[in-house]
Every structure is written in structure tokens, then in C-alpha cells.
Amino acid sequence: MASKEKLFRTLVDQHQEMVVNTCYRFVFNREDAEDLAQDVFVEVFRSFEQFREEAKLSTWIYRIAVTKSLDHLRRLKRKKRFSSLKRVIGIGDPSEEIASPLHDNPADACTDSERASILQDALGTLPENQKTAFLLSKQDGYSNQEIADILKTSVSAVESLIHRAKKNLHDKLYAYYSEH
């Protein structure tokens, strides 16, 4: 048991930054990213015995991070739907509408927060595999091979997913800015 804990501590040391930043890519929020990273490591500790060396340990950990992040986004989506329903009924809480800033500077925070919110909404409309491939490709440290391993697919499929995600995202943002 002591050796397991020692190994776990080493794993946390090696992967904590990558895991937190992977989650951050998906959720755009520091607190949520750190909470999710904690969930990821708890899951890693819990199911450590179930890990089969078919994949690299790091790939397995990042796959858990991606899954947890996607779950979180799904929950947020449901919550958003529910709060908009509450708003329609007239029992909505206005504090739920306040976005958390990405910057310390209020002016930047306002512009970036709005832009980030638009981007997040557009990303939210993408199919999950496209979104995952695209977001991971934007993070340093993930090669297309590693993304393919995380998504359990081929490198060419990942390239195709990234390409389609970029195009879809561009089209959605273009449509948004044309209307607003």
C-alpha cells in the first residue's frame, strides 16, 4: 500500500500540470479545472489496479482528464438549459449569468470574457470527438499520435477531426459575428 501511495505521488508530480491545463482547455475556468484535476487523480488512485498496460500510463491519465472534462461540460449544458428554463418561468438566479474573468484587468476581462464565452458556446456545438481532438491539438505536449491514443483512433482520423473542427468552428463563429 505504501509503494502504491509513493507511486501515486510520483504520478501526481509528473502529470499534475498537464492534467490541470488539459481540463482548463475544456472548461476555461481555473477553479473548475483544478477541481476536475483532483477528480482525475482520485480516479487514477482508485482504479490504478485496473490499468492495463495496453496504453501508456500518461495516455490513460489524460484520457481520464478528457472524460471528466467532457462530463463536466455536459453537466454545465444541462444546468444552463435548466437555468434558462427557470428564467422563462421567472425563478432564475441572476448570479448564474455572471461569467468568471480570465484576466485580472477588468477591461481585458470584459472583452476576453465575452469572447471566451462566444468561443465556448461555439465549441459546445461541435461533436465531442472533434472538440477533443481540436482542443488537445492546441495544447503543447500532445502529439497527434498521443491524441489518437487518447481517442483510441488513428493519427489520420485525428488530423481529419482537427480539420473538420477548425472549419466547423470557423463557420459557427462567422455566423455568430454576421448576426451580431
Binding site: R9, V20, V42, R115, L119, K138, L169, L173, Y174
Partner: protein, 124 residues
């Protein structure tokens, strides 16, 4: 021609907005971890895994069928005790009645039952 230029400018403006928004993903500054992250994580792991271990121990040793059997046993025991208690009470009542009866025969009115019969040649 002027309309075309305006349209082109409008499209360029939209494209610029799109690029700016998409570039946000490239401008993400990697997060530096909160200094308490690791401490909080280890605390959480200890508490959650500790709870789980407790749960597992309980899960191994706690069988619903066993619990049901125990419940049945307790119910049986309780009902047996109750019936025994009630049985004791009824026994007491019967013994009391018999005592009262025997006591009644010991009364003065029934005293002759205690007396032995006299024969003709026997003086009273």
C-alpha cells in the same frame, strides 16, 4: 462597386473577429498550479479512499441475506420471549385460581371435607 467594397470590408471585419476569437485558444497561458493543490488532493484522496476502504470492509462483511436472517431471528426471538412472558402470566393465573380454589375448600364451610368419616361402633 462601392457596395462590393463595403461588403468586402464587412466580411473582413467578421473574419478578423473570428480569427481573434479562435486565436484565444493559442493565447492560453498555461496555468500555474495553486500551491495548495497537492495538499488538497492528498487530503481528498486519503479521506475518499479511507471512506471507500471502510465501505469495502463493510461490503465484504455485510450481506443483505445475512442481515435479513438476523432480522428474522430477532423477530422470532422477540415473539418467543413475548409468548413465554404471556405464558408465564397465564400459568400464574391458573395457579392463582387453583390456589383460590384450594383455599376455598379450606374454608370453614367446607371444613367437614377434612373430617374423617365416623363408623357406627366408633365414638365421635
Amino acid at each position: 462597386m462601392k457596395q462590393d467594397t463595403m461588403m468586402k470590408q464587412h466580411n473582413e471585419k467578421i473574419e478578423a473577429e473570428v480569427s481573434k476569437t479562435m486565436n484565444l485558444l493559442d493565447e492560453f497561458v498555461p496555468l500555474e498550479l495553486h500551491h495548495q493543490f497537492r495538499v488538497r488532493l492528498m487530503r481528498r484522496v486519503e479521506s475518499e479512499i479511507g471512506l471507500e476502504r471502510g465501505g469495502q470492509y463493510f461490503g465484504i462483511h455485510f450481506d443483505y441475506r445475512l442481515a435479513f436472517m438476523a432480522l428474522i431471528f430477532v423477530i422470532n426471538l422477540a415473539s418467543t420471549l413475548l409468548s413465554v412472558q404471556q405464558g408465564d402470566e397465564s400459568t400464574t393465573t391458573i395457579s392463582e385460581v387453583s390456589f383460590i380454589q384450594s383455599d376455598n375448600y379450606a374454608n370453614q364451610e367446607f371444613a367437614y371435607y377434612d373430617q374423617t368419616a365416623f363408623y357406627e361402633n366408633q365414638a365421635p
